[in-house]
Structures are given as C-alpha cells and as structure tokens.
C-alpha cells in the first residue's frame, strides 16, 4: 500500500463518518416533527373534550329520583308541599354552585272533604298565571315567583283529567282524586346546554 492509496482511504472514512452524522440529524429532525405532531393532535382533542360536558344529565337523573321522595317525606311528616318548597330552594342553591341554573314548576293534588286541593309551586324566576281546568271548571291562579298558591276544586270524579296552561306551555294530566298526585317540570341550564324534564306520579 503506497502513500496515495492510504490517503484516499482516510478521506473515504471521513466522508462516511460525515454521512452518519448527517443521518442522525435527519433522524432527530423527524423525531421532533413527530413529537410536535402528537402534541398538536393531543391538544386539539383535549379542547374538544372540555366543551363536551355531560354531568348535567347525571344531576337530572339524581333530581328526578329525589323530588318525589322529598314530597313523600313531607307527607309523612304532615308538611306536604312545604317540604317541596324547601327542597326546590335547596336544589336551586346546590346546582348554582355547579354553574347550573335550576328552575321548576310543580303541582300537587291532595284530596279534601269535597274534592281536591291543588297547590302550585312556582320557581321559574318570574310570576305566572296558570290556568287549571278540571271537567267544565276552569280557574286562573296567580303564583308569585319562589312561592306557592292553592285552589280547591269541588265535585271531582275519582279519576279526573287536569289540564294546565301557563306561559305558553300546556299539559294534560290524568290523576286519581283519592291519592296524592305530583307533576313537576324543571329546566337545567348551563350556557347553551339545557335539559327539560317532567316528573309525574
């Protein structure tokens, strides 16, 4: 091996080494791009998930079960609708803490000596006039916000149909005179999301 050929070999080795170093740069560059790509995609996914909150439906499920229980506890303690008033205000404050606006209207019928008493609870954040109709008798009942009002219907059949109308909403309820009946309609609102539910029993 002469001096020229030895020199050529060293140059060649040096070129190969340079190529390896360049290759590492390409690899690191690609790795950085991949990391940036995944961080970007994870960031986008998280943004979408944050806007999709479904906890309101769970609260609704919870409330739907508890309101009739609250009335039953009240009836057992001879407090009836007073308990429902208290529980409505309780729900309002609890859900407000979770940034959920709770508003409701409810009706309770209880048998009296001559017919039925119908109590209306208004927690809709505004005063309302509700029209109550049983058979041929129709009554307009003014109910202030965050309070109740009561009216009595006489000569009511054992099974009767109560038609209600308030604030553009109508509902027909088939109730029994000799038992306590409950109708609740509530709204849960958070931002643009809204759940409207009814309870009958």
């Amino acid at each position: 091996m002469n001096r020229e050929s030895l020199s050529y070999t060293f140059t060649d080795i040096s070129k190969i080494s340079d190529k390896r170093i360049k290759g590492q740069f390409f690899l690191w560059g690609a790795l950085l791009l991949v990391i940036a790509f995944f961080i970007g995609s994870v960031g986008l996914t998280q943004k979408i998930i944050v806007t999709e909150s479904d906890d309101m439906s769970f609260y609704s499920d919870n409330i739907k079960k508890e309101i009739p229980k609250a009335l039953n506890f009240g009836l057992n303690e001879s407090n009836g609708t007073s308990t429902l008033v208290d529980f409505s205000r309780f729900l309002d404050s609890v859900l407000a803490e979770r940034m959920i606006k709770y508003s409701s209207i409810w009706l309770v019928s209880e048998k009296n000596d001559t017919g039925v008493d119908i109590t209306v609870g208004n927690f809709l954040d505004k005063n309302i006039t509700i029209t109550l109709n049983i058979s041929t008798t129709s009554k307009n009942l003014f109910v202030k916000d965050n309070s109740t009002n009561k009216t009595t219907f006489t000569s009511v059949n054992p099974s009767f149909t109560l038609k209600i109308e308030y604030d553009g909403t109508t509902k027909t309820l088939n109730w029994n005179r000799d038992k306590v009946n409950l109708y609740v309609r509530y709204n849960l609102t958070r931002g643009k999301k809204r759940i409207i539910e009814e309870i009958t029993g």
């Binding site: 998280q46 998930i49 906890d55 769970f58 609260y59 919870n62 508890e66 309101i67 803490e97």
Partner: protein, 121 residues
Amino acid sequence: MRGFWHIVESFMAITIIITFVMIISGGLIKVQTPEETEIKAYKILKNLDEKGVLRSYAVNNDYSGLNSQIELYNYNHSIEICQSVGNCVGDEPNTENVWVGTYIISGDYIYEPRIIKLYLY
C-alpha cells in the same frame, strides 16, 4: 434536497411505529377527562345509594364511615357532607387535580336533605 427526503422518510417511519405501538397498547394510553372522573365519582355515590348504604351515613354526617365504604384503587378519595351550600363536614383535599362528584339526597326516613361530595385525587 436529499436531506429533506431523509426527514420525510424518517417522519413516516416513526409515525408508523408510534401508531402501531398505540394501537397495540390500546386503552393503556387513554387519559380520563375531568368530566369522566366527576361522572365516575357520581356513579360511585349512586351505586352506594342503590345498595342502601349511602343515606344513613349521609344524614348522620358520618363522612369517614361513608368514605370507608368506597373501594377505589386508582385514586385517593375523601367525602364531604353538606346540609346546605357552605355548611359542610368532612375532608376537602388541599391538593391539585381534584375531581368532585356530587350527589343529592332528600333524606333517609325523614326529610333531611344533604349534598354528598366525593373527591377523587
């Protein structure tokens, strides 16, 4: 120009490898969102209610007793019981990344409304 194509090739190769690894590992990489964790907490409380365990502890404000009924290994947990907003007994964890599930009851045998909060952290 050749360098550019080397980067593109490497990028594709690494993406394919990572995608493959993610598919194989499946749910292991899944991260629960705050909403999912809060709903999980709610479901734990609901499940205890359906078993008939929750209400007696809640109306007696026995937060440690109720907490001991919860079997959860992935998270630390504590319970707070409130008679009204701000009127609470229990352990509210003083740490970061705490998720809370809230369950409302109207009473047990009598009307005694409570808010039960399960903190997961």
